[in-house]
């Protein structure tokens, strides 16, 4: 425990040191504010434009949550179908893997034509980009049951529903969570990029507006907001993981 605290402390101190160095270099090298604002400039601006930043963050967050939620709700049942149906795994899955190679963000302009400038097109991009890692990881997890475990389930006369609920699904959870972690990070990317393409709200929109006004400080504020959102969501998934599969991290001696 004290070891863990010492580690977090060293992270915080290093971060503060780097920020101080940034501040110092801006001052010493006399870098103009329109190229690189100092950390205090950014902090001040966040304070001033707090309400606006929160409003746009809220919009982007909703898009992320909706897109990510959609990819869970669709991805997991889909993975189960692929694992259990021979047709889906032989004919459908290879096509999906091929589709995955298309950069999803390249679909953004098209989806905006189809679904308009509103939130729906952003949710769909966030969904498309986070869907595949969740699907692929869930499939890998559901297929990870060893022969021994299957033999055990048969010797205990478990029916196929029980094999799924008692053996296959819990066995897949670590892999499913690995997919969630990749998925949530990508959902943030998807939502912001979709906002870049065309929008009236959200952090991506705010970033474009700031850019067009050459307001570099505001751009940094947006980056800070996105960093906080990305880190926060990733940690949220990690906490959920630790709560639902306490046996996993510990059994591998990690953290």
């Amino acid at each position: 425990m004290s070891n863990k605290m010492a580690r977090s402390l060293s992270v915080v101190l290093t971060l503060l040191g780097l920020i101080a160095l940034w501040e110092l270099l801006c001052f010493v090298l006399e870098i103009p504010k329109y190229l690189l604002p100092t950390p205090t400039d950014i902090l001040q601006r966040i304070f001033v434009d707090w309400a606006m930043l929160v409003r746009h963050s809220g919009v982007t967050l909703v898009e992320i949550f909706a897109g990510f939620g959609l990819s869970i709700v669709i991805g997991i049942p889909f993975a189960i179908v692929v694992v259990y149906s021979k047709y889906a795994s032989q004919a459908f899955f290879p096509i999906l893997i091929g589709l995955q190679c298309i950069p999803m963000v390249s679909l953004a302009p098209l989806l905006i034509v189809w679904f308009g400038f509103g939130m729906l097109s952003k949710v769909l991009i966030a969904f498309l980009i986070s869907f595949f890692p969740i699907l692929v990881n869930t499939i890998a997890g559901l297929k990870s049951m060893e022969k021994d475990m299957f033999m055990l389930s048969q010797s205990l006369r478990a029916n196929s529903m029980q094999v799924f609920l008692y053996f296959r699904l819990p066995k897949a959870l670590p892999s499913i969570f690995a997919g969630f972690k990749v998925g949530i990070t990508l959902a943030v990317v998807g939502a912001v990029v979709a906002e870049f393409v065309s929008s009236e709200r959200g952090l991506g929109y705010l970033q474009l507006v700031a850019s067009s006004k050459l307001d570099v400080t505001l751009q940094f504020c947006v980056i800070v907001a996105l960093a906080i959102i990305g880190l926060g969501l990733y940690n949220l998934v990690s906490i959920l993981e630790r709560m639902s599969i306490p046996w996993y991290k510990a059994s591998r001696g990690g953290e």
Binding site: D148, M149, M151, L152, Q154, S155, L156, R157, A158, Q162, Y166, F167, P170, K171, L173, I245, P246, W247, Y248, A250, S251
Partner: protein, 265 residues
């Protein structure tokens, strides 16, 4: 409670593989008395595990029949419990939850039992018997190999089996733990008096534990020799010093020598 009486007649098993058929077992005939302890020894790949899988109903024979208590075996029968070489504990369940798994899958509760003991009490009793008192709520990853295999044995025992099948259950354990597990198994056997089929490649282990040792030939597996072990029960550390113990071990070893399974330089 008595164990199962097993009759194996002309059993064969052929595996179809890409490079042609592989005959794993050929013409196996055995009559296993109720409540006896039978060991099956043989070299790797002789079909010992296949034989157990057939008995456990996990695979179907390609010829011949297996009859248990006058009933032809078709699939995994009630009263069978299997312990595998790997403990196959479910990592996401605590020790006691692992032991309770078979009852949960079959929806058996205290209501179905005459003594009206709760499932948890029964699991606790079994864990206590194998020396795992106080470990109920630990996860498998917190335990050593020997302890894990004890949990797997308890998971077998809670089904109240009349036939316990073990496929090299101590194969992955160190020598000392292995010896202790043998004493524990004998204690359990004397208490439950079920039929035991014990697969091993250790000659000493087979002789020490069993009433009968079946020696199998290299592939295709068949019964080479059927040796009755007449050592007194209960057996203990002193049984190993018994002259007859040494003779039995020698006898089985010479069978393997004659088969070319064992050879000196």
């Amino acid at each position: 409670m008595a164990g199962k009486h097993i009759v194996i007649q002309d059993m064969e098993k052929v595996f179809k593989t890409r490079s042609g058929d592989v005959q794993a077992l050929t013409k196996v005939n055995l009559d296993i008395e109720a409540s006896s302890f039978i060991s099956i020894v043989g070299p790797s790949g002789c079909g010992k595990s296949t034989l157990m899988n057939l008995l456990a109903g996990l695979e179907a024979p390609t010829g011949g029949t297996i009859v248990m208590d006058d009933k032809v075996v078709k699939g995994s029968e009630t009263g069978n419990a299997v312990v595998f070489q790997k403990d196959v504990l479910l990592e996401w369940r605590t020790v006691i939850e692992n032991v309770l798994l078979p009852l949960e899958l079959k929806n058996i509760t205290w209501f179905d039992r005459k003594d009206k003991k709760t499932n948890r009490d029964m699991a606790k009793e079994l864990l206590q018997m194998v020396g795992l008192e106080g470990f109920e709520d630990k996860y498998p990853f917190e335990m050593s190999g020997g302890m894990r295999q004890r949990v797997a044995i308890c998971r077998g025992l809670i089904q109240n089996p009349t036939l316990l099948m073990m496929d090299e259950p101590f194969g992955a354990l160190d020598a000392l733990t292995r010896e202790q597990m043998m004493y524990d198994l004998l204690k359990i056997y004397s208490k439950f008096k079920f039929t035991v089929i014990f697969i091993t490649h250790s000659i000493e282990e087979a002789v020490f534990l069993s009433d009968r040792v079946i020696v199998m030939s290299p592939r295709p597996g068949s019964v080479l020799k059927d040796i009755k072990i007449e050592l007194d029960r209960p057996r203990g550390i002193n049984s190993r010093k018994d002259q007859r113990f040494i003779q039995y071990v020698d006898e089985i070893r010479s069978v393997f020598q004659s088969q070319g399974v064992l050879s000196e330089v």
